[in-house]
Point group: C2
Chain length 293, copies 2
Amino acid sequence: MIVVHGGCGNPSGGTIQHEEDYHRGLEEAVRAAAAVLTAGAAALDAAQAAVSRLEDLPMFNAGRGSVLTADATVEMDAAIMCGRRALAGAVAAVTTVRHPVALARSVMETTSDVLVVGAGADRLGADRELELMDPDWFITDRQRERLRRAEEGVAHEDAGDTPIGTVGAVVLDAEGALAAATSTGGRRGQWPGRVGDSPIIGAGTFADSHVAISATGNGEAMMRACAAHEVSALIRHAGLDLATACETVIRDSDEIGMIAVDAAGNVAMPFDTTLMHRGWKRGDGPVETRVYR
Amino acid sequence: MIVVHGGCGNPSGGTIQHEEDYHRGLEEAVRAAAAVLTAGAAALDAAQAAVSRLEDLPMFNAGRGSVLTADATVEMDAAIMCGRRALAGAVAAVTTVRHPVALARSVMETTSDVLVVGAGADRLGADRELELMDPDWFITDRQRERLRRAEEGVAHEDAGDTPIGTVGAVVLDAEGALAAATSTGGRRGQWPGRVGDSPIIGAGTFADSHVAISATGNGEAMMRACAAHEVSALIRHAGLDLATACETVIRDSDEIGMIAVDAAGNVAMPFDTTLMHRGWKRGDGPVETRVYR
């Protein structure tokens, strides 16, 4: 089972420009993960592949095309977690690594650390010979324009735009292993160095032997509530089913969405916003994608 | 109820040099918090006061006297959380702010963010007119020597030294409000930018209306397990008492310790290492301090 998201949001109205681009991007991400599973790799590799694809697509807030900070720079955060091994890696405020999720994976696999931030994270990416880009490569004209409009107090012009968006993937593989990955450019106009829930294990990203979760939306609310870990706790300790656990956590916050899959293959994709970009594929079934409810 | 800790560890033997310094430092921190409560302030202010004092004391791994990174620099992390308001602030990889816990408080009180890292965090400290110091001010000769010895593979010479140490405080005030705060210089010889559990809400620091927790020790284990939040989850969802909840979480990891207080005033201070610097004071009672079991 593969589920991906490309952020949630509450556009002030209007229709989505190029809505088909979002559907196509979500489908590409699901297919990238499916190809990895078909090739015999595990949930962890599939989750990374899906997020990696979404990072490259400029319409999503992660990797190239990320929203800009108040300094008009791109700072990227990502996390990945393997439910079977209970291992995790994460990075924050990265400025040069093309695929932040790959750097998070590298933290997990090649260091004894869980989280590396800032210049040290970029340095790790260089040390591990990951693909590096000039910081300007991540900045799109569209995001430059949107930051300018946001600073002028003009509502963003595209209902598909999610200025608090994120991308993520959760995967259950044929062996029963679960994995989650999340990546983001943060919140439009954020103070440089601000880090949201995406790279925080237990807030925006979590996986164990019961459930894998990737969240999006109001990052600070999810950090205070340890939202992703709370879903797991409600399942493990309160005996809730996946859907009820997710709904319970969503209900306590505003402007959040999450995708989740449990060890039995149940899926939940709740959100309390008007839209959440999402796509999924069960086994050999078709790829489905949705933007609105 | 005030509880503080100054880190846990597994010294390879020998006796603690200047053990009385640790006892005196812990006592000063408890008294700083007690003075704040006596003056009528809340748990949050008391927790901050205790941690702020510990940050200034060079024998503890936080603020001045922090362990050094592989670059022989000091990078500091801190978090604070108000259980009553469910608000939190945190900073990581700070290099110039004298009291990182004050900067974490400033993130909580003056921004819409929860976590700010790196140069952006230092910039926030300057913007909020917090006390700044030259990065070299935080580096003590003792830590320079210990990094050198660690790089040479020589065991550290002082059994009181906790190279994975932390400082923290949890407080329950007369109004029943809970607060937790943690501060650290990280792990000796860490990769620059590595961030442990201390500033991660739900890992090393957490407070809600049930319990306040500050952890120390193996930061990566606590991040993967969301240790502090798991204590709260076990109390809220599994009906465990405070001591059992803490012991359950400690049991699943190596080299960790935590201090916790619940809304009824119960206290737990479990650790699976040979020592944990700790001090406490209940109401008008005396200040007590311990290093070993």
